[in-house]
């Protein structure tokens, strides 16, 4: 009795800790991934959309997965959803395992399944529909094993297998394995307990007949074949596994069959473990002790905190939280061009690019603009840069490309929203309306779409809008062909179209500074007056002082620019170290790595950056 209570408490504490951990992980350490997933799907709450999904094997899990994913829009909703789904997965797994072995000392084994699922969805290519689909198969398995009478079980089996295939796709294979193993292991166990004259819950269990098991197999093989032959033109892999477990249709990673295999494997494992009604403290302790390294190893293997950081930058930019991007960069500096480009954009939007960009490690032109490489992340983020620069067509192009390159052949709500905006700015109201009508059918973008519809054909309203009106003012009038590798020309054309485009000005100055092209940089310095600068940004001061230092005998004296004394003194100190110490780079890195001088002297440029 005492042991039973202890076991119950252990189960409660373990369950509480596990799911609290899951929730905390997705809420506080992996939340940007969830936002990213939400923005990269377009879920329409319409009957047609539901029917279109239901026409595909596994379509219901695809639909439900997307339905639930849309709530990731609210930061806390994603972690709650995932935690609940994993909780139900654990319960279903436990029920299935408990039928084979009633000893609750092995309950931690049932947590391996939700743990595996939690690890898998750390990869953004595994959608929530994979979780939903897998859960459906477990619930179907749970239902199957709960039917005592063998003929009824057989009947339910021939319904559940194709039904699970239809609703959940590939996970029906997991159900099939669970069903077959349940029948065999239960029969063996029942026979043993009868022989030992130790009746248990399986005593009197009657297995379905062998031909009935074979019939299950025939259904499992035949139904997808039928679908492939007569209903859908799909490759065999997709016909069997369906398209809702992994975003890349051209491959099916091993993790999915392994996930499907886990419940049946655990059934076999637990079958061989002792089933006497007592508590195995040592076993319980070993399981819990082993669980910790499994969790650590698993999340190390699956969680991608580098990607999480990029997605955080991206999320903050998408929300126009420019100051927060910079604050985040101060804590977690960009580690690749995607994050760096988002940081540089935020600096430009806050008007601090000239002051602060070299405080963060720059990486050539690649950190300013993102080239398009037939995938969806760089164009999606790159579109933000062009949009904020006022390059509406380029932003539109990148947005369109990103939605066309999403791996799951779906559309992205983020792109559709951007396309509505770019068409609105360009005055292409019919197309803008088309996109807005689609957004009208979403849960979280409906209000925005409805409000934006008021702007259609209303020139004054658009022109007076702080965002869209500004983009109209900055618009390029004299057409030319856009290419991301001719950004110098593009930026100069933008400035020519509107010399008050301060974002473009900061970018063109950054372009020249990053390329160490101080000749062109100096030519544009006077433009600051037209743009209303009251002081010269620090980064520009450093570059100007460097140029003056090259040509003037007394750079610390009077110079024709408003250079602060602090900059002059810092330059003097920098120059002293630079000219007198052999290990200058080491010393300068400590105090001057955030200056343009340090970048100029020590950052090696790739040739292509000079384009």
């Amino acid at each position: 009795m005492e042991n039973k209570k202890l076991l119950k408490y252990a189960e409660y504490i373990f369950t509480g800790l596990f799911f609290a951990g899951i929730f905390i992980f997705f809420a506080f350490f992996y939340n940007s991934h969830l936002h990213f997933r939400e923005a990269t799907q377009l879920f329409l709450l319409t009957g047609d959309y539901f029917i279109a999904k239901m026409n595909l094997p596994g379509g219901f899990s695809g639909w439900l997965g997307e339905f639930l994913t849309q709530f990731y829009f609210i930061s806390i909703a994603g972690p709650i959803t995932i935690t609940i789904l994993l909780f139900v997965i654990q319960k279903a797994t436990f029920r299935i395992l408990n039928t084979i072995n009633e000893n609750r000392s092995f309950f931690p084994l049932s947590f391996l399944v939700p743990l595996n699922v939690a690890m898998i969805i750390c990869d953004e290519f595994y959608p929530l529909s994979a979780v939903v689909g897998f859960l459906i198969s477990l619930l179907a398995g749970w239902l199957y094993i709960s039917i005592a009478q063998s003929n009824r079980r057989f009947l339910s089996g021939i319904i559940l297998i194709p039904l699970t295939y239809s609703l959940a796709g590939g996970s029906y294979l997991s159900l099939l394995a669970v069903i077959i193993l349940f029948e065999i292991l239960s029969a063996v166990k029942a026979r043993k307990s009868t022989a030992r004259k130790e009746p248990d819950h399986l005593t009197g269990f009657k297995m379905v007949k062998v031909w009935q098991l074979l019939f299950y197999l025939i259904i499992a093989v035949g139904v997808p074949l039928f679908v492939m032959q007569f209903l859908l033109q799909e490759p065999a892999g997709l016909a069997y596994f369906s398209e809702f477990y992994y975003a890349l249709r051209t491959e099916m990673p091993k993790a999915i069959p392994m996930l499907f295999a886990l419940p049946p494997v655990l059934m076999v494992v637990i079958f061989f473990l002792p089933s006497k009604e007592k508590m195995y403290k040592a076993a319980l302790f070993i399981q819990v002790a082993l669980f910790v390294p499994v969790v650590i190893y698993g999340f190390r293997l699956w969680a991608n905190f580098g990607a999480e950081s990029i997605m955080k930058y991206d999320y903050l930019v998408r929300m126009n939280r420019w100051e927060d991007v910079i604050k985040y960069a101060e804590k977690r500096p960009p580690r690749n061009n995607l994050s760096l480009a988002m940081l540089n954009l935020s600096l430009a939007k806050t008007g601090t690019m000239g002051d602060r960009m070299f405080q963060f490690e720059q990486n050539g032109v690649g950190g300013l603009f993102l080239p398009f490489a037939k995938e969806y992340v760089a164009p999606m983020m790159g579109s933000e840069i062009f949009y904020q620069l006022g390059l509406v067509n380029a932003s539109q192009e990148y947005s369109f490309e990103s939605t066309e390159t999403t791996p799951a052949l779906n559309k992205m709500v983020r792109s559709v929203k951007r396309l509505a905006e770019t068409n609105l700015i360009n005055g292409h109201y019919e197309v803008a309306l088309k996109y807005l009508k689609l957004l009208d059918k979403t849960v979280f973008y409906r209000k925005w779409a409805h409000n934006t519809e008021k702007y259609l054909n209303n020139e004054d309203l658009i022109n007076n809008d702080p965002d869209w009106g500004w983009k109209r003012k900055m618009m390029i009038k004299n057409d030319f062909f856009f290419k991301v590798d001719i950004m110098e020309g593009v930026l100069n054309m933008l400035l020519k179209a509107n010399p008050h485009n301060n974002v473009a000005y900061q970018y063109v100055m950054a372009f020249y500074l990053i390329n160490k092209d101080l000749g062109h940089f100096m030519k544009l310095v006077p433009m600051m007056n037209d743009l209303g600068y009251t002081r010269i940004p620090v980064g520009y001061q450093e570059a100007i002082m460097y140029v003056i230092g090259l040509t003037s005998e007394n750079p610390m004296g009077e110079v024709p620019y408003k250079i602060s004394n602090d900059t002059k003194l810092r330059m003097q100190a920098y120059a002293n170290i630079y000219t007198s110490r052999k290990d200058a780079q080491e010393i300068l890195r400590k105090s001057y790595s955030g200056t343009y001088w340090y970048y100029l002297h020590y950052k090696k440029l790739e040739t292509k950056d000079k384009k």
Partner: protein, 495 residues
């Protein structure tokens, strides 16, 4: 038992009353209404259109604060009433019964809408029925009107007499691949070709139920074969070979420019498995593209422009409509090129010359410059009368948005064409009737069961081709040939 009997009696009574109400509401028009005196703003626009007797129901919706719709269809031989909430969606069989009844006549349609609890009557309109059927199927490609990438895409076929759509081949079956330029010989679904691009590149030729994958790139030609047109004998397919590139505009008026920096013509001799060409149609000094054979197969029409430097001269390249003789018996070309419509005279550029099957006309697209007219808002359809050489803009079918690709139905009266008139971006297929004097009727949009279909669709209808039946050799049946090694082709330059 008593209670149950009483209950069932009540239920029957309720059902009977409900039935009566339903019957009354199904057969009557509103007794009281306000005559609005204007035509209804329907989508799609079906007002005063001319349709073939075998077309699918022309379902439509009325936007606005509409609570209920009643549409009364009347012709001399009968009357039909249909109801809907905000749309009229007519059952296929009832629609066809009505069209048969009213064949070669006009149907008068009176629309009543309930708005803010009150009935409104709109001005009646006509739907004119031609008792000449259109080819019952149409093949087309669905793809997003994008830049360089594509998501879900494929070639599909639609039964025009109802709403059934089937996949011929798509990239669900061949992930990562692209398919384009489907073409049929004289609208025959059993003689088809299309190109595959991607990791399984090649040209799929389907003839007599057999599919073959061809490698159409030879060392003598510029590229793989591109824009096709079958010779009526079924023994040849004319192609252009093009060095195609695209660039993207920065100003708001335009998005994309697709251009050829080089292009020539070749003819694929199916029986000999070789490409043939002539110096006259593959010269260095000119760009030749969009070949098409005359109905009798004796002439090869094509577009030709003086060579230019691209992309700099992109808006100066203008294509004329030309022709050269072709002898199908020997597979040889004539020794001179005739210009039918000169770009020097029109100052504009021609693409997609498509001869009618009766040999009377060539329908073509004319835009300000270049040949990729789908990205040109100013692109319109024109008709060349081959008897007298005159040509004219087809007034009833053009809009201020793009009208581009087109294909004739077998009888040379019905035709389908691509238009971006709805929103300026997504290409949709429209159909119109050309009468004996070369005048086209007001076109109608490809009917869909759900009138909201086009709002929700994010893919364009490319290259609509009318066909006389269903394509039976679909992607699944072609898989073996797609997977097999592509058959290489030889090249011969004729004098």
């Amino acid at each position: 038992v008593k209670f149950l009997t009483g209950f069932m009696r009540k239920i029957k009574y309720i059902l009977f009353i409900a039935g009566l109400i339903l019957l009354a509401s199904c057969t009557s028009v509103p007794g009281k209404f306000t005559d609005k005196g204007v035509s209804p703003a329907l989508f799609p626009d079906v007002i005063d259109v001319t349709i073939p007797v075998n077309i699918a129901p022309l379902n439509f919706r009325l936007d606005g604060n509409v609570q209920k719709l009643i549409a009364v269809y009347e012709c001399e031989n009968g009357k039909y009433i249909f109801h809907g909430r905000h749309a009229i969606e007519i059952p296929v069989s009832k629609w066809h019964n009505m069209l048969k009844l009213c064949a070669d006549k006009s149907i008068n349609v009176t629309l009543f809408s309930k708005e803010d609890g009150k009935w409104i009557k709109y001005l009646p309109f006509k739907i004119n029925i031609k008792n000449v059927p259109i080819d019952p199927y149409m093949a087309y490609r669905l793809i997003a009107p994008g830049y360089e990438s594509w998501s879900e895409m494929g070639i599909y076929q639609r039964n025009l007499t109802n709403f059934d759509e089937e996949t011929i081949i798509d990239n669900r079956l061949l992930p990562g691949n692209c398919m384009n330029c489907h073409s049929f010989n004289n609208n025959d679904p059993d003689q088809m070709m299309f190109h595959l691009r991607g990791n399984i590149a090649g040209t799929m030729l389907v003839k007599d139920g057999k599919a073959t994958r061809l490698n159409t790139k030879t060392k003598e030609t510029l590229s793989n074969c591109v824009y096709p047109y079958w010779h009526p004998s079924g023994n040849y397919i004319a192609y252009s070979v093009n060095a195609i590139s695209q660039v993207f505009h920065t100003a708001k008026e335009k998005r994309i420019e697709v251009m050829d920096s080089k292009s020539d013509l070749v003819v694929y001799d199916i029986r000999a498995n070789k490409l043939i060409s002539s110096k006259l149609i593959s010269g260095e000094e000119s760009f030749e593209t969009f070949p098409s054979f005359s109905a009798d197969g004796k002439t090869l029409f094509f577009c030709s422009a003086k060579k230019g430097t691209l992309p700099e001269d992109y808006n100066k390249i203008r294509y004329s409509l030309c022709k050269i003789d072709f002898d199908a018996a020997t597979g040889s070309f004539g020794n001179k090129i005739d210009t039918l419509i000169s770009s020097f005279k029109t100052g504009r550029s021609i693409s997609f010359p498509r001869p009618s099957h009766d040999g009377k006309y060539i329908m073509f697209t004319m835009s300000d410059y270049g040949n990729f007219s789908i990205w040109h808002n100013e692109a319109d359809l024109y008709l060349l009368n081959l008897a007298d050489g005159s040509f004219k803009k087809m007034e009833n079918v053009n809009t201020d948005k793009t009208e581009s690709y087109h294909s004739w139905s077998s009888g040379s009266h019905w035709f389908v064409f691509s238009s971006r008139r709805i929103d300026g971006l997504y290409t949709r297929p429209y159909f119109a009737w050309l009468d004996d004097s070369g005048i086209a009727t007001k076109p109608f949009l490809l009917p869909q069961k759900d009138p909201d279909y086009y709002d929700n669709s994010l893919r364009s209808f490319n290259v609509p081709e009318l066909i006389t039946g269903k394509v039976r050799v679909n992607g699944r049946k072609m898989l073996k040939s797609i997977g097999a090694d592509a058959k290489n082709i030889t090249f011969e330059l004729k004098d």
